[in-house]
Symmetry: C2
Subunit: 451 residues, 2 copies
Amino acid sequence: MSYKTYFSSHREAQLEELMQWLRIPSISAISAHAEDVQTAASWLADTLRRGGLENVEIMPTGGHPVVYADYIHAPGKPTVLVYGHYDVQPVDPLNLWQTPPFEPQIREGKLYARGATDDKGQVFIHIKAIEAILREEGTLPVNLKLCLEGEEEIGSPHLPEFLETHKDKLSCDAVLVSDTSLLEPGRPAICTGLRGLCSMEVSVQTANTDLHSGTYGGAVPNALHALVELLASLHDADGRVAVDGFYEGVPELSPLMREEFAKQGVEEDKIRDSLGLDALYGEKGYTFVERVGARPTLELNGVYGGFQGEGTKTVIPKEAHAKITCRLVGEQDPQKTLDRIEKHLRDRVQSGARLNVKQIEQAFAFNIDPSHPILQKAADAYGRVYGTRALFTKDGGSIPIMAAFSRMLDAPVVLMGFGLDDENLHAPNEHFNLDNFDKGLLTVVEFLKSL
Amino acid sequence: MSYKTYFSSHREAQLEELMQWLRIPSISAISAHAEDVQTAASWLADTLRRGGLENVEIMPTGGHPVVYADYIHAPGKPTVLVYGHYDVQPVDPLNLWQTPPFEPQIREGKLYARGATDDKGQVFIHIKAIEAILREEGTLPVNLKLCLEGEEEIGSPHLPEFLETHKDKLSCDAVLVSDTSLLEPGRPAICTGLRGLCSMEVSVQTANTDLHSGTYGGAVPNALHALVELLASLHDADGRVAVDGFYEGVPELSPLMREEFAKQGVEEDKIRDSLGLDALYGEKGYTFVERVGARPTLELNGVYGGFQGEGTKTVIPKEAHAKITCRLVGEQDPQKTLDRIEKHLRDRVQSGARLNVKQIEQAFAFNIDPSHPILQKAADAYGRVYGTRALFTKDGGSIPIMAAFSRMLDAPVVLMGFGLDDENLHAPNEHFNLDNFDKGLLTVVEFLKSL
């Protein structure tokens, strides 16, 4: 039977199975969910076994485990390593979810759940595409390995060491990843660049206790004042990051690259309106696509201190906190970037306040040349299923481990994404358009068979 | 028997009784505690009745009720109105309390509980002093009225209207209030000035959903960036409030006033060290006492937005919030001040962000001439109990209703405080030094008998 028929007759059962997985709240960032992450790994291993994959293993790391599996029965054919992740983002603010994040629901052709698109839904496409080929043809057209991790959403802290240790086991001719997006519905894309990432937590401490603003106000340091002053100093009036040396290693945008970006035909007004914004905002002199695809950024992801309850509390808080992440491009060095931000803050901290900085994640940006034959075959596979060949794009997100994969395994990385940018990844009401689930299955089959 | 003997033989029972009251979590700022505030009012009314006061009433207002009582049996003698409050501040951060805020405990001569010093403990002094005179002498040396409210910690929103409505019922020759502090242990003070107060909540909204910092970072407004920029603009590099016209109505400090402040002999190094600070902080050109007693201030009491959990979340938050209060002096107009801050913020809000401002409390500053005879008698009463006459000071705190009392009832306001500045009012581990509870009882008896 055709793969189209195969997938349509198995669709209901497959979605039921995916929803089982989505019910497991495998939030890697929150230690209370450690056991759930483990459960999601076990579920994944069982599913791979049932799907016909071999040598399935839950391999320990310094943190959450890697689930490995393979099927090596195509001598002389290339070996493809599929990478993905089974951990998910935290879910707060919980009250903004229309249905609970871990009670998956299909509404109007979209599957709603935390992890639906990022990345359980997309990993599941590979599992079911492989299973389909095995069932229909009895074997695979390539040698296949899967390496599915549980710490992507916290910056893959243990994966580089894991790759180094298991270099031989994971050796391959190409890495295949689905954790990126189409340009828009019906317009597939292959991402040839991802931004790097670094992150830190910053806190300011002043007095040894919260103080009454009547008794002390105006005469003692306020941790919130000290913090907002520091945070406001991180950008200049033109939206540029004001940290000395921050832009070192950032490539200038050539006229040719600007043309490539312009080809995506992104309508800024449409984006602005869909986000309910009066205006977009960013570094002067760049378009939306250029800002996201080719420029680094420094974002405040969380700031908190003092009274957050209902009403007024006349308190001078003794501490205040901020969470900061940067997206990096080109050759920007994540460690140097963290050090520069830390120095910037230390140089400016208000008298009477003490600064604590905790550096956390680090990942270089990732780039690959679109003219590589395997990328061309991937674009063709999309073309046969979507009716339009994939464009080569650069994405603003980070899959921290991509640079490590391409460097350590010395293999091209093919980013075949099936998500959409408006699917609320990392936000309430994350969902996955099932039309791309269906097409994704066929595209992966087409791609594997074309190698 | 002497009052000293009387109070010492009743001490244990009185403290037990006070602790009953402190167990009621009458937090006026949090609507979930509305019933507790009501319970604290009923407890107070019952206690006043048992203490021998007459015409005890729980009088409704637009919010939490006022508890009224009187004892008018001294024709030809002055009428004293005692004002205080039975509501308390919120208690978070709860984890910093050594013992739970509503489970009072005496440790090393200090009574620990929310409200112990601000203001249940100090109100209780008046109740028990009056009860003692009634029991020992069968009547009071003055005519007495009590007006005890339940909304002081939220800025007494309904008391001005209440005073206006019940002007005749509350008419008096002096208002007596205990809600301020000694200079330090053994050094009593009568406060002749309090700062005014105004407060507002500010929020910034950007997109209609939280956004992924990879997909959008650098190209959309971030509510936290917009907010910290606004908040940082509220002060200049010298610690002065940078809002246009903010200092209108603030009296210049005369050399004479500076001498008066210097007399308090406050050692800045000692304050700095006791707060665990490397340095104090504030408007340039003023001492600690001057900053708190005679200068206005603008404080951030709370700031929050985005991810506050464990770990990293690469989110661009769609909203961010701040709570702001100002302490006002001299003739600074609270309404004008709020409008000026609002204008300052609106003029500066970042492109793509929307600002919401909610103005909340308003109160003028309060000032009284220390040469008034009743203030002199109060200072003498302290002298007889503490062995040292009270100094006349200015306090940085606000009792929003003091200006209204002196204006509407046309009577001098005597602020006889028995607290200490380091008793953690509005902070975790609030407590009341019982030595001042004991001396407070005697001082109030002395004062009432001297009129």
